[in-house]
Amino acid sequence: MTELHIQTNDAPPPLEPLIYELGAPGRVGVNLPEPDVPTADLPDAALLRDEVDLPEVSEQDVVRHFVRLSQLNHAVDTGFYPLGSCTMKYNPKINEDMARLPGFALVHPLQDPETVQGALALMYGLQQWLAEISGMSAVSLQPAAGAHGEFSGILMIRAYHIANGEPHRTKIIIPDSAHGTNPATTSMAGLQAVEIPSDANGDVDLDELRKVCDENVAGMMITVPNTLGVFEAHIKEIVEIVHEAGGLMYMDGANMNAMLGVIKPAELGFDVMHYNLHKTFSTPHGGGGPGSGPVAANDKLRPFLPGPIVDVVEQGDEDTPPLYGFVHPPQSIGPLKAFWGNFGIMVRAYAYIAAQGADGLREVTRHAVLNANYIRVALKGTYPMPFDRFCGHEFVCEGHWKDAPGIHALDISKRLMDYGIHPPTNYFPLIVPEALLIEPTETESKESCDNFIEAMLKIAEEAHENPELLHEAPHVTPVGRVDEVRAAKQLNLCCRPVSHE
């Protein structure tokens, strides 16, 4: 069975066999019943296949295999994970329990709304809360991730200009510090991304902004605090300049963990934004997803929201609760996915906001910002930093030194693994050389921050005194550095030969 994996004789054995390398012909992992109805004739054999090439393993084979695989991962539940821009905070366990209640997990999306009033009430409540936190007037929970929310928002801006008879407005201004999803979103919507530089302080260069603001501007996408972790010094001026030119303001809300109860995007003048429930509101990242990226809009843009969204369709009174239903915003850009969004993620976010309340959410942000500044100040003398100012919930430093040639951010990252810490985000934002974007989140204790600081300071010393230690790192992880070039050149995405039987 292993012939597809040619191992040289002296190579160490794989950490864990592939599921296809386990088991034996004839074995099954789940017992299914006999038919309790008379069987029907199968259709014409020409329509049928012989067999599907799937594993043949027992239940215990499966459990051991996946548990052993899980043990090869670093996760928030196993250690510190200061991955900037991703808000890897603790994921409360009750959230998982709530999402698995039969009344939420075992409900079909196309059931009559009258049979799912609890689910709709939850969605309505979450829409209201997210509107309140942002100061926006309406929310659609449909987008499945941040990038999906961005796509909604940019399509809404496009639709708005078309509805106003200004289809020539096709330029979306994006600072060079932006996340890659922002320009990619713009192109997907058929609009043009126009990049503008940041100034020496990490803020948008206002002169450059004015230069590109003409009658073709559809809007601007900007992250607050920006991807360098700082609150734009001139945010209101930026909004004013773009609005004056007839453009609309999109806020990438990936960094809302720095804003809860501290500032409402709508009050800064933003017209539309997305949330990442899987960042700010503690829903787990799932090894890559699922997330949820609700989009929030002000009065100007709410008619264009993707839908449907939940609304009260019959007012209640003292004795009867209101009747909830789905409604389509009048000028909706259309549905962004099948059904209503990643409902299971909404349930988790609802549990989190209910537990925190207004005061709790503000404390989240206060402590996220406290932790980030605490670490920033401790590393300031040792790691180069592009600017010296307060940060929001994260900050960026540079992973290189003139007197330690050959050391890169990547080496520092790999060495951190030896200290049991997941590396910060590397090489983003692109405008900072050898960027290390560090986001501790509020759920890490002072000891946890101190431990990270100590590791970072130690690594800086090692970088100067024993650079090989970094170049060879990591030393204690399940695998050493992996050969990415080989992965791309000898493309192997599937361990079985494809058969058309």
Binding site: P55, L69, D77, G103, S282, K337
Partner: protein
């Protein structure tokens, strides 16, 4: 302060180290007039109170563990083996993120590589990505791939009218600004009608298999005709059906996409689900999203890593064809565990159980006065019933009086399909449930 570990002493020491007096001082750069607004939200609750409140909301929903369900139309009540939830609750899996650092993510990486391998086995295609948001967005991304493949020069997409209406709507939402034009799905075009629409402007022709009405269309000659026109063929497939029916690869498809919810993922009122996407090696460099490849580490040990990265938004930025970043990774893990558990014989078994039960139900219902089932084509686990009354009326009575969640009202999407109900039957429907449904329909027709 829930989930925040700081003590007063911690805060004091940290503020001192930073050199400020109060946490508020850290927000000096936020415009003062907008700083610290009031939030009109409920007071925070204890864990116990949260559980009560949410338990209350959950309890008023009609859940499929208490009702017999014959509703499908894109989301299905297939059996979910216990093991899956236990694996998904491993904190090492669900509290990790995208495997950017392969040395700390071999668990996620290998599990997704195995998922890719199993999806290739199912679809008979050569390459899969690590997931899209759901079946609908997978189809939208198939259109994006076709557009990129022809560098925007071919603008026409032919959709069969029997593709899930939601999927077609989502693809249109995605492509409202991309310049792609959608044809074919407004009337009742058959496969030969769709073939007639092929021309040199056609980038993609997409069909659903089994189609939205549960039927297996005759695809003879389809792939050849599409390829002769220089276009690509995409099939939207039900992965459970692929346990018994020929693979899209065997039928000549260039892409097979669809909804993986049936592979061990609970209904959850519509999400999170799993958009799967498979294609040929020829097209793999145009695929969107994360792709996991096999390689070795520096000791020569087999290892896994995200590969073909230069396609993606974080590197290609405005030149990337898709903006997808977070995906549905944990749901792909669920599918890996599911497919491992059921394995070679079990998937066939699930498919055949669904098939037999659906056919039993269809025959019983067809025998009822006033009802008729469309037997014009072979079908899998869903079938169309012409009813003597509006479907909404029947469904109201089914849930009120019989504890049954009835089928899908096709007139919502197809004006010509008045009084037509789409019924789904899976291995989880017992004969008892089916007999009760039949009995209920008999009485409702007489009433």
């Amino acid at each position: 302060m829930t989930y925040i570990p700081h003590t007063d002493a911690d805060r004091e020491a940290m503020l001192k180290a930073i050199g400020v007096e109060r946490i508020e001082d850290l927000f000096a750069e936020v415009p003062a007039e907008n700083r610290f607004p009031e939030l009109h939200l409920p007071q925070g609750k204890s864990e116990m109170e949260v559980a009560w409140e949410m338990g209350g909301l959950a309890s008023v929903n009609a859940a499929v563990n208490e009702y017999a369900v014959f509703l499908g139309a894109g989301a299905y009540n297939h059996f979910v083996p216990s093991v899956i939830n236990h694996i998904l609750l491993r904190g090492e899996f669900y509290t990790a993120y995208t495997p950017y650092q392969p040395e700390l993510s071999q668990g996620t990486l290998q599990a997704i590589y195995e998922y890719q391998s199993m999806m290739c086995a199912l679809t008979g295609l050569e390459a899969a990505n690590a997931s899209h948001y759901d079946g609908a967005t997978s189809l939208a991304e198939a259109v994006t791939l076709a557009r990129a493949h022809y560098r925007g020069k071919r603008k026409k997409v032919i959709f069969s009218p029997s593709i899930n209406p939601q999927y077609r709507a989502v693809a249109r939402t995605y492509h409202q600004g991309s310049g792609m034009k959608f044809v074919g799905d407004k009337g009742s075009a058959t496969i030969p009608d769709l073939i007639d629409m092929l021309d040199e402007d056609t980038a993609l022709l997409a069909v659903q298999y089994p189609n939205f009405f549960g039927q297996i269309d005759d695809f003879n000659g389809l792939a050849d005709a599409v390829h002769e026109a220089g276009a690509l063929l995409c099939m939207v497939v039900d992965p459970i059906a692929l346990g018994m029916f020929k693979s899209p690869g065997a039928l000549g498809a260039d892409m097979a996409v669809g909804e993986g919810q049936s592979l061990g993922i609970p209904l959850s009122f519509g999400g999170p689900y799993l958009g799967f996407f498979t294609t040929t090696m020829k097209l793999v460099r145009k695929i969107a999203g994360r792709v996991i490849g096999e390689t070795v580490d520096k000791y020569g040990r087999r290892a896994y890593v995200m590969t073909l990265r230069p396609r993606e938004q974080d590197i290609r930025r405005e030149k990337a064809t898709s903006n997808i970043c977070s995906n549905q990774g944990l749901m792909a893990l669920a599918a890996s565990v599911y497919l491992s558990l059921v394995g070679k014989s079990g998937l066939r078994r699930v498919a055949e159980l669904s098939y037999h039960k659906a056919h039993y139900a269809a025959q019983q219902i067809d025998a009822l006065e006033g009802f008729s089932v469309d037997f014009s084509k072979p079908f899998f686990k869903e079938f169309v019933v012409q009813c003597p009354k509006p479907v909404a009326e029947i469904n109201d009575a089914l849930i009120e009086d019989w504890g049954i969640i009835g089928g899908y009202d096709l007139s919502k999407d197809y004006a010509a399909r008045e009084n037509q109900m789409l019924i789904a039957v899976t291995e989880t429907n017992t004969r008892d449930e089916i007999d009760t449904l039949v009995e209920a329909l008999r009485e409702l027709a007489e009433a």
